[in-house]
């Protein structure tokens, strides 16, 4: 780094960076996007491999015989469910007890902040039932969980039937070293949240539940089973959990290994793997699969019941049975054998799953992109922010340079008096707007319902959008109230602050949830890099709005639908967009998802700062 110590060379370097700033930024942006798109190209990715020794080399034999009986139990369960009109608690308790489990129940109630129109629920009241298979000669320190949600409609009965069948079979085996908890949770994620909070005796989300009576030590791994038909064509693995957390890659490897061994078609993101990576179609397929994972991860919501386990450092995944029009069908016995094999391997674990990756993307089940490979894509985008910041810094320091050689020592003095205030005011005001966006929609729903002919959910979503739009008008030229006319230097300082703020924000986000950070960077970075007050106002304003976080969300909705091969028209997409907003707010209050507060309290105010620069006078 003698480069920086030598003033002449430093000057040469900075002048190079300043002179070529725009081209370098453009190159960085394109390179970042290209790098990201290249991640799905098979030769650039790594093959998955089992890292955990305890699961890799040991062989287990799957002998589960009773698939037909499990389906009969499922039918019985369905009949009882219909009779009771909900979760057949008594029947389940009795059935589990007859299979030699220690059975406990937990009831819970939760009032949602506003009605959930997707799932049609508001005041939720339910019961979780779980049976513990006590491992012989084990001191109740470790456990595995197999869960099946009990849904109000007629789906997922087969999962409960298979769960009970496996419980009966597992009970008569001597080899268990960890207790196994068989959990049937009502109201899917809400029930799961209640059970997990009860098990760990915490209360993060204001759930009202009865304390658990039986426990089995620290849970090592969990699988959630979703199965709605007697035969299936393929099994789908769902990994994305709360706040974009992923289970250890070994869990995915384990699933894939057993699908291979038993001969079950397995998918991820509902997409089968293709062999032809060298053709355009094969590559597009891999990109689609990876993009779906990125979008799901970025959403920060749990995409299956397993998603909530991850917060408690429990590796978990959902296994979803899919019955399509394919010829080759797999019966319940085979799925039972697959789960048996997975549980026996998990039972062999000596330590928690920790050997393999926790940060990865999967373009297919056999290939993965590790954090070391995907981070440069984000790094290239983040570099743009730093380069622009450097450019501004040099520009701000230029008049000072005449008197003294060091680049930045004197120049804070020049912006000190009016500068701090002129920067602080927009920062404070845009953050207050963010706070309003975060708190008001839920708080003001009653007022909104009184005055407008809308439902509570619509009220919340529309209030959010209204505040979001109102924020565009609000903070213009706020600096003028305090410091008079905005100066040329003023907006530069503000932009410098906004750039660094955005860089820190996106950097931190990408470390926790790469997908979210990257998607936000794709739209926010060009906006942040280009915006100045000297551009054609109308056109730039339009571009800025199109690059705002809200619009990013809208594009994501459309892209997601497109990738899922269920394209939507504009009005449908708009409705979907509204429901995504309401789901985001609900996820935050029900499960503690952090995407909504992140967007409302940090990203949106940051974008407002950029907006403010555009209208600087």
């Amino acid at each position: 780094m003698g480069l920086l110590s030598d003033p002449n060379r430093r000057k040469a370097l900075t002048s190079l960076l300043t002179r070529l700033n725009t081209p370098i930024c453009v190159v960085c942006y394109l390179a970042g996007i290209a790098w990201f798109m290249g991640l799905a190209f098979e030769p650039f990715t790594l093959r998955t491999y089992m890292s955990e020794n305890a699961m890799g080399s040991t062989m287990v034999e799957e002998r589960f015989p009773a698939g037909e009986r499990a389906l009969a139990t499922a039918r019985e369960f369905a009949a009882h469910k219909r009779k009771v009109g909900g979760m057949p608690v008594e029947w389940l308790v009795k059935t589990m007890q007859a299979r030699g489990l220690e059975v406990f129940t937990q009831s819970f109630t939760r009032t949602l902040p506003f009605p959930d129109e997707n799932k049609e629920r508001y005041m939720v009241r339910g019961t979780n039932i779980y049976g513990i298979l006590r491992a012989p000669r084990a001191p109740r320190t470790e456990a595995l969980v197999l869960s099946a949600p009990c849904s109000p409609d007629n789906s997922n009965n087969q999962a409960v039937g298979l769960l009970l069948g496996l419980a009966q079979y597992f009970r008569s085996q001597i080899y268990w070293a960890k207790d196994i908890i068989f959990l049937v949770n009502e109201h899917d994620l809400i029930g799961m949240q209640a059970w997990l909070e009860g098990y760990h005796h915490t209360n993060i989300t204001g759930m009202d539940y009865t304390p658990l009576q039986g426990r089995a030590g620290s849970i090592q791994a969990a699988l959630s089973l979703e199965l709605s038909s007697d035969v299936i064509t393929s099994l789908d693995l769902v990994l994305e959990g709360l706040n974009g957390q992923l289970p250890n890659l070994d869990l995915a490897n384990l699933f894939h290994a057993f699908c291979q061994k038993i001969g079950v078609l397995c998918t991820i993101q509902g997409k089968l793997q293709r062999g032809d990576w060298d053709t355009a179609e094969g590559y597009t397929h891999a990109v689609q699969t990876m993009m779906l994972m990125v979008l799901k991860q970025a959403s920060g919501r749990p995409w299956g019941d397993h998603g909530l386990f991850l917060r408690y450092h429990i590796e978990a995944a959902s296994v979803r049975g899919i019955n399509s029009f394919r010829q080759y069908k797999t019966d319940a016995t085979t799925i039972g054998r697959l789960l048996e094999g997975m549980f026996r391997k998990l039972n062999n674990l000596l330590e928690r799953l920790h050997q393999s990756y926790f940060f990865y993307l999967m373009p297919s089940l056999t290939h993965f992109v590790s954090i070391g490979y995907y981070m440069p894509a984000f790094g290239l985008l983040a570099t743009i922010l730093l380069l622009r910041a450097l450019d501004l810094w040099v520009q701000l320091g230029t008049p000072a340079q005449v008197t003294e050689d060091g680049a930045g020592e004197v120049e804070p003095v020049s912006i000190n008096n009016q500068g701090v205030l002129s920067v602080l005011t927009p920062v404070v005001i845009s953050h207050l707007t963010g706070v309003a966006l975060y708190t008001l929609p839920v708080l003001s729903q009653e007022t909104a319902v009184e005055h407008f002919p809308v439902s509570e959910t619509e009220a919340v979503v529309l209030t959010a959008i209204a505040i979001y739009t109102a924020g565009l008008a609000l903070p213009h030229n706020t600096h003028r109230f305090i410091s008079g006319e905005g100066t040329e230097q003023g907006w530069r300082v503000l932009k410098l602050v906004a750039l660094l703020y955005l860089a820190v924000l996106l950097g931190c986000t990408a470390l926790i949830n790469f997908s979210l950070g990257f998607i936000l960077a794709i739209t926010l970075v060009p906006a942040a890099a280009c915006v100045t007050p000297h551009m054609p106002k109308a056109l730039t304003a339009l571009a800025m709005v199109l690059l705002s976080p809200g619009c990013t969300l809208l594009y994501c909705v459309f892209i997601f639908q497109e990738l899922q091969e269920a394209p939507v028209t504009l009005p449908e997409g708009w409705m979907l967009f509204l429901s995504v907003i309401s789901q985001g707010i609900l996820d935050h209050s029900l499960y503690g998802s952090l995407v909504y507060p992140l967007l409302a309290l940090l990203i949106y105010p940051c974008w407002l700062l950029l907006w403010n620069i555009l209208f600087w006078k």
């Binding site: 000669r137 009970r171 005796h201 915490t202 030590g217 450092h313 330590e351």
Partner: protein, 576 residues
Amino acid sequence: MIFLKSSISTRWFWAPSAAPSSAAVSLPDSCEEELLIRPLHSGDIYASFQFRTLWDTDFLHQGKKVSHYRLFPKSLGQVLSKFSVRELHISFTQGYWRTMQWGQPIVPSPPGAELWVWFHNTVADVDGNWKELTNVLSGIFCASLNFIDSTNTVQPSASFKPLGLGNATDHRFLRYATLPREIVCTENLTPWKKLLPCGSKAGLAVLMKSEKLFHSSFHSQAVHIRPVCKDWQCSSTAWELRQTLNVVFDLYTSGQGKKEWSLFKMFSRTLTEACPLASSSKVYVDVTDNPEGELFDLSPATSVLNTAVVLGDRRTYSVYDLTQKETFGQLRSLNLVLRWKGESDMLRPLLHAERYVAGFGLQTGEIHTLIYNNHPYRAFPVLLLDSVPWYLRLYIHTLTVTSKTRENKPSYIHYQPSKDRLRPHLLEMLVQLPPHSVTEVTVQFERALLKWTEYTPDPNHGFYVGSSVISALVPSVVAMDTNNTQERPLFSSFFPTKEESSYFVRVYTEPLLVNLPTPDFSMPYNVICLTCTVVAVGYGSFYNLLTRTFQVEEPSQPLAKRLANVIRRIRGVPLL
């Protein structure tokens, strides 16, 4: 060992038909063996072996050396005399006793290994003796007792009173340690069996085949040594060695789901003889719930019944005396068969407890201990003992005890804070349990960061916290038998009873498995490289930039000019 074998053979030669009781009187030592079989309500079956060897010697009082051993194992006798042990209790357990389903055990024990020793009050260096003793016992029992050191040893002030003679109260001579992680298997069973007078060659011990004993839900083996009175006046004392082995066979995995048990099905052996050295050899079957034979069939039937007061309950037992020839019948072997006919209700045990860690994340947590008093109208006090390793830093100011949503102030608290890497936390409390209530004891803790050499080879497995111990005098429904010297089945005389209205119970909670913040040990090289690079390149140069001031140096003068200046200086003319 050689000596033991020869003693067996001599007995067979010279006293084949002598009545065992008379032989026991004439010889100084004696031994008894018994097996208690209790069908459990869950359909499982509980088998409890007890072997008692009495050793008539008094070396502690006279200080003389004892070199003659008959029935008492020499290895243990030497340990007793060398380390001046007054009382020694050691148990190895694989599994957790499910109090809610199985009721109270005859001899309670925590999962893993437990060792508590009272030393004689003449011992000067108790810690030194304790250290050596654990290492010796580690060799005798093929167990990792050598991992007992000051970081997991405590001196409970009230929970562990001597069970034998004497009323020592100075807990400086008591040491208590548990190893919750200890795995018990056949390598621990073999040395244990070798301590028996007949080994596993004859008597009840032939049933102890490890492939069956370890095909069970619960396995616990223990050795208890204590001084006892020989008669009711206590005119002379003897050492008692009590070896117990408790097994619970599972209805589903061992019994194929059929409620039908036999000695052969449990142990894959039948009984053919008593241990020739034993003065008494009996099999008891608990038939309390089955007075008319409506719950299960027991065959062969026996008319000999025995009642004993066990754990606050008067219970009836069918007795099979193996010293009598007719017990074995025509086939010359005894194979007890229990066939269930009906269902029975489960009895809730009066006292049970459970424990768990609450919270998530790797920084803090909370230990919750729940103690249930299921007695409908009687309150009783319990002593709770918690020994927590130092790397869980207990915040003792957060200790709360609540019963029925109200604060329940303990009447006695003994807390010894931990010292990092030296000793664990010790918390003892006397808590009054209201009738029909749950008492919750919570305390928060912080997880310490260990030094990198202090992690176990499998750090991601987690770290164990031993069971808490709850000792209580539970109000008894029936009058307890306070005469401790009278002839009674062995299983009913383990804990001495001092008063008629209550009986002593010890309950262990489950151990805890706690994850500590763990570095990624697989990449120290990467970390070292990265750190060094960052420090050298990044930090160094920035530090350099921040601390130095830079000035533009005059470009160096050309050689000709310098030469000219030298000449000018010599001439005394101003420089160029």
